[in-house]
Symmetry: C2
Subunit: 325 residues, 2 copies
């Protein structure tokens, strides 16, 4: 089959498009999916560089999210048939023509959602939904502060906060991304300059944000705690700024705050199945009804995966970068 593999670790030059990759083995509980579109994520770049803390397969194929059509199913699969449109998250391997996935760990794509959109939704919306609701119990009337609001997770968080009756504040290093995020419902957009903390305080009448979603971690933690409301929750969904952080514990106590860490990719199968089922039941129908929408930056053919990586590394994208198989 065709697939984009990493031939070693390093820059975009290690990406090799091959058409002789062995087809994945389809276990008796699996579905074989013919991939239509696949997302590109920061974790793909980390993996290409050799900086992602996951073991590599002998043939390393990137790609954590996909949409496609079921071609065949294993002998014990009863919930799916060939021809079904599906999407979901995988640990790796979505940048390939074919993908074998546990048949419970994927979601059926409802009518009214295109395969193109379906590939752009799973990682960002499952991450944002899990962070906001499962971790932080975000509730109607609350205010969320979303850093890197022009990222696909950031935009998904804004859309979910607005749909749930909340107020969304976002930060970005780019004024244009803040303006575009307003089309997803962003209420307040602030450049991440010296004044952002004061602006968050002003926008919340001095209360601070009830929930903060942050990708940076070290270096931002104490600032986030400073603009957090009493009984607020910070959800750390990345540590792009480093892993060792200093934390003002006394302020954490005084605010009765909580700091949550979360990561999707390393979860065990049972939890991934639960996520996929919840995604199918609670989130995908909101796209079918037009209440939520995926923001797609650009679609590259798989052969242009190096250019797609370079585009993401330039931070110029707004929303999801997709690969078309």
């Amino acid at each position: 089959m065709r697939a984009a593999t990493y031939d070693g670790k390093g820059g975009v030059e290690v990406i090799k498009l091959r058409d002789d990759v062995p087809q994945p083995e389809v276990g008796e509980d699996d579905a074989l999916v013919e991939v239509a579109f696949a997302g590109l994520n920061r974790a793909d770049i980390l993996e290409r560089e050799g900086n992602y803390p996951m073991p590599r397969s002998p043939i390393t194929i990137g790609g954590l999210e996909y949409s496609g059509i079921v071609r065949s199913t294993g002998s014990r699969v009863t919930n799916l048939a060939a021809g079904q449109r599906v999407c979901g998250l995988v640990t790796s391997g979505a940048h390939a023509e074919l993908l074998a996935v546990n048949a419970l760990a994927l979601s059926k794509v409802p009518d009214g959602v295109s395969l193109r959109d379906a590939a752009a939704i799973p990682e960002s919306f499952i991450t944002a939904h899990d962070a906001l609701f499962t971790r932080a119990n975000f509730a109607l009337g609350e205010t969320a502060l979303v850093h890197a609001v022009g990222s696909s997770v950031g935009l998904a968080a804004v859309a979910l906060v607005k749909r749930a009756g909340g107020t969304a504040i976002g930060t970005s290093r780019t004024a244009e991304k803040l303006e575009r995020a307003k089309t997803h419902g962003l209420d307040y957009g602030f450049l991440l300059d010296d004044g952002w903390r004061g602006r968050v305080h002003a926008a919340t009448n001095g209360r601070g944000a009830d929930v903060i979603l942050d990708f940076v971690g070290a270096g931002m933690l104490d600032a986030n705690l400073g603009v957090l409301a009493s009984q607020g929750r910070i959800v750390q969904i990345g540590t792009m700024g480093g892993s060792g952080a200093s934390l003002h514990l006394g302020l954490l106590l005084a605010k009765r705050a909580a700091l949550h860490g979360t990561v999707l990719r390393s979860r065990p199968l049972d939890e991934k199945i639960a996520l996929a089922k919840h995604f199918e039941r609670a989130l995908l129908p909101l796209f079918a009804r037009g209440y939520l929408r995926a923001e797609i930056d650009r679609v590259f053919p798989l052969a242009d995966l190096p250019a797609a990586h370079t585009h993401m590394e330039s931070n110029a994208n707004f929303g999801k970068i997709l690969l078309a198989l």
Copy 2:
């Protein structure tokens, strides 16, 4: 009225017993309580030293928890009458003959619970209950690690964990306290030496503890994170070891862990009322039925408050130190 006041800040010599302190003003929503017993807490020592971050009244009277009998009520109070036995938490002032409290922010003492026990219960059991259940969602079948398990909050946590169907692991610097904590249900007691982390891992078959209650904070945080189970929760109910901590954020993410800070004393009145009502409804009946019990270390007459402070500062107490009014 009689009261123990702090005449300045410093050692036990600043404690002055007076019998000419003006009676507290009783507002129209208040009850005037004739105090029977009052607890002594670490926060009283911090306040005496001037190290507690709360503003002082012109006449500073310590004491955060009490039991007693309602002597009179304000004009708008409908839920209480003179003669009612009550107990609860206050921001200060319990080390006095009389105490004015919002009539909704106290709890009725049920039959079968003595006023002596009732004064020993509120601070430790409300703190432990709030930390375990409200913050950390402790659930049947889980394991809690309780540091300083010989403290009254530690013993309360052990009793609640066992009552809720969990496993309790405790640490202490004193072997005798570990042994005595076993009479409250402690399953595993470990000295806080170099080997405690390995012992927690062994006792949990390598999983780690689902919930950790810690008073120390800085210096313990990374060790606690190391022995925390996947999806575990650390509740920080004190920062006796300092407020600035270093935190291994990457491990927080990888474990999908949460760090909660909590403090009771500075909460607004509406939350204190909710705590008092929940305490009356859910916790005090468990004492009346004999399912939970207060551990009382010693009862000092109020005149011996300096000796009571010294006793607590020596860390020799096991369970609650009470003052008899």
